[in-house]
Amino acid sequence: MAAVPQVPMRRRAAWLVVAAVAALASGWSAKALAERSSTADEYARLKPSRFEDAHRIISIIPATTEMLFAMGAGDRLVAVGSYDRFPAAVEQLPRVGALLDPNVERILSLRPDLVILYGTQSDLRTQLDRARVAYFPYVHRGLPDITATIRALGDRVGVAAAATGLADAIDKQLGDVRARVAGAARPKTLLVFGRETGTLRNIEASGGVGFLHDMLEAAGGVDVLADLKQQSVTLSTEVVLARAPEVIIELRYARGDTTAASDLRAWNALASVPAVKNRRVLLLQGEEFVVPGPRVGAATERMARALHPERFK
């Protein structure tokens, strides 16, 4: 076989590797930079200098849909997203997709004057810009962002008073819960929001950031994965055994899920975990644990009751 010149090939390969690493590094640092600004700053930055109250609103995010209804602006919604479930009135409204598959045609055909979308949906934003439709980018990271969003949204839509009332009520509810559990011993808790049914594979749990983690802290628990700065962590059984949580809370959002309670049996395989030994594997069902919306106060209280039943007699 004739000798193939090796050097140019290797140099090309080296450049490819350098380019790939540079691309990854720049993407990662851009992301890191973005996360440093706070939600309130972002809303302030994005708020248009002049705007009119919105009366034909489309919200493709379950959280903001709930917020609008809770602020008394539910009648202004003309369409919702695919995953919106609460309140019951959303069933009457047309659906226009969600994070991954927004139906731009349908959205525009409904002639909205405000579209609430995820901050990361840049394609949709570009298209709405072109069509000169105003939008409200939803950004959310932790518990405080919920009330910040309610206030900003209420302001934008034109129901600032109701929004402030709602946000204050939530803040008060959270404050009450914190007060109730103050001073109680805070158990190391594993907050699980997903796993393969019937087994302990692919356990998804809350890490040290995000609204679930914040809820847990407010409810008087300590996230056993607090040192992992991710919203969602996939765990193996070994890690659960090593971290030995004192309480395991499983979150299921489907209310109609009747098998969930018996499925908790799967945890018995990890007999040395304190939560299993002391039978503190708890189940909390409801969408309020998945949707960082206005029901978060009630959700936090439910969590606190589960963790510290003695404080709620």
Binding site: D101, N202, V233, T234, L235, E238, V239, D263, K277
Partner: protein, 326 residues
């Protein structure tokens, strides 16, 4: 390196693997009978978290590697794999349907997902095989290959369609499943999978000479006395049982079925009487090592074992192609 060498390597790796991991454990505590099992964290890590995982890795790795060898011989293509005939995609479709439509019933203590994925692989094989024997004169490898590619694409599209029908969490669960996981946490799954895998391995053990002959072509094999149609049936069914069981136990872990047969052939040559047992042994070892990396090196979250095999396998596969076609 001989078969005995492979065997020794497998033994060493399998004994050592449960001892290594992200959590430090003490062997003395693990086997200390005075501590009740329910209180012995070290023993639990060893016997509940790690040992079933290592056993599952051996079964899955072994099955996928042997299935890869069989497919490569019958399709006369060293780049074939258990998924060339669409079996992994079929298995994935079964799992995705169960996950998306919340068919959470368990049968005899086995959850629905493994059962559905096994059925999916079986159906894929049935379709591909039926299509290829529709021709009068035995199967044609070209038709088998084309049918497999088409079926793989079709099932893949169905997968995506069904995921769109489900909601976000179901889609996420499906994606997680597709990345593979050997964290079985119990011996039930391992024992249940062991039965069909052992049976299929025994069946394949009757075929090494036939695989040699068939790799020269169906006509060449027949002229040397091989009943190609019967051998093909046995081989394809066995390899599909292996693939289906492996995928239902650990998810569709990629590249094991391609890399391991190649590495083994580089070491022991092309004779299937050596390649088959070596692949069975080395396949298990390889996956145990990949899983070790997956659960130890990447922090508390770990990495899905399928990602590790892909990280190793992708570049290896490219290198193989490069070597073959320059």
């Amino acid at each position: 390196m001989t078969i005995a060498g492979f065997g020794a390597l497998t033994l060493v790796v399998c004994v050592a693997a449960p001892l290594v991991g992200a959590t430090a454990i003490h062997l003395s505590r693990v086997f200390d009978r005075t501590i009740p099992f329910a209180d012995n964290v070290d023993a639990q890590v060893f016997f509940v978290a790690r040992l079933p995982r290592v056993l599952a890795a051996i079964l899955v790795g072994s099955s996928l590697a042997v299935a890869g060898v069989v497919f490569q011989a019958f399709l006369r293509n060293p780049l074939a794999s258990p998924d060339t005939l669409g079996l992994s995609t079929g298995a994935t479709l079964g799992a995705v349907i169960v996950i998306t439509f919340h068919i959470d019933t368990a049968v005899l203590g086995i959850s629905a997902v493994p059962i559905a994925s096994f059925l999916g692989a079986a159906i894929a094989l049935g379709i591909v095989y039926a299509m290829s024997i529709a021709r009068r004169h035995g199967t044609s490898t070209t038709v088998l290959l084309l049918a497999g590619v088409a079926l793989s694409a079709f099932f893949g599209a169905l997968n995506r369609l069904i995921q769109v029908l489900g909601d976000f969490t179901d889609t996420f669960r499906s994606i997680r499943w597709m990345m593979g996981s050997l964290d079985v946490g119990s011996y039930t799954d391992v024992v249940v999978s062991f039965v069909p895998i052992a049976a299929a391995l025994v069946a394949v053990a009757t075929l090494p000479r036939v695989l040699d002959l068939v790799s020269l072509g169906a006509a060449a094999a027949e002229s040397r006395g091989v009943d190609v149609r019967r051998a093909e049936r046995l081989a394809l069914v066995s390899a599909s049982v292996l693939t289906g069981s492996a995928v239902s136990l650990g998810g569709p872990i990629p590249f094991v079925g391609i890399i391991v047969p190649h590495i083994v052939r580089l070491i022991v040559g092309a004779d299937h009487r050596l390649v088959l047992p070596a692949a069975a042994l080395f396949g298990g070892t390889f996956l145990v090592l990949c899983d070790l990396l997956a659960r130890t090196v990447f922090g508390a979250g770990g990495m899905p074992v399928g990602a590790v095999t892909a990280l190793l396998g992708g570049p290896f596969f490219l290198w193989l192609l490069f070597r073959r076609f320059r």
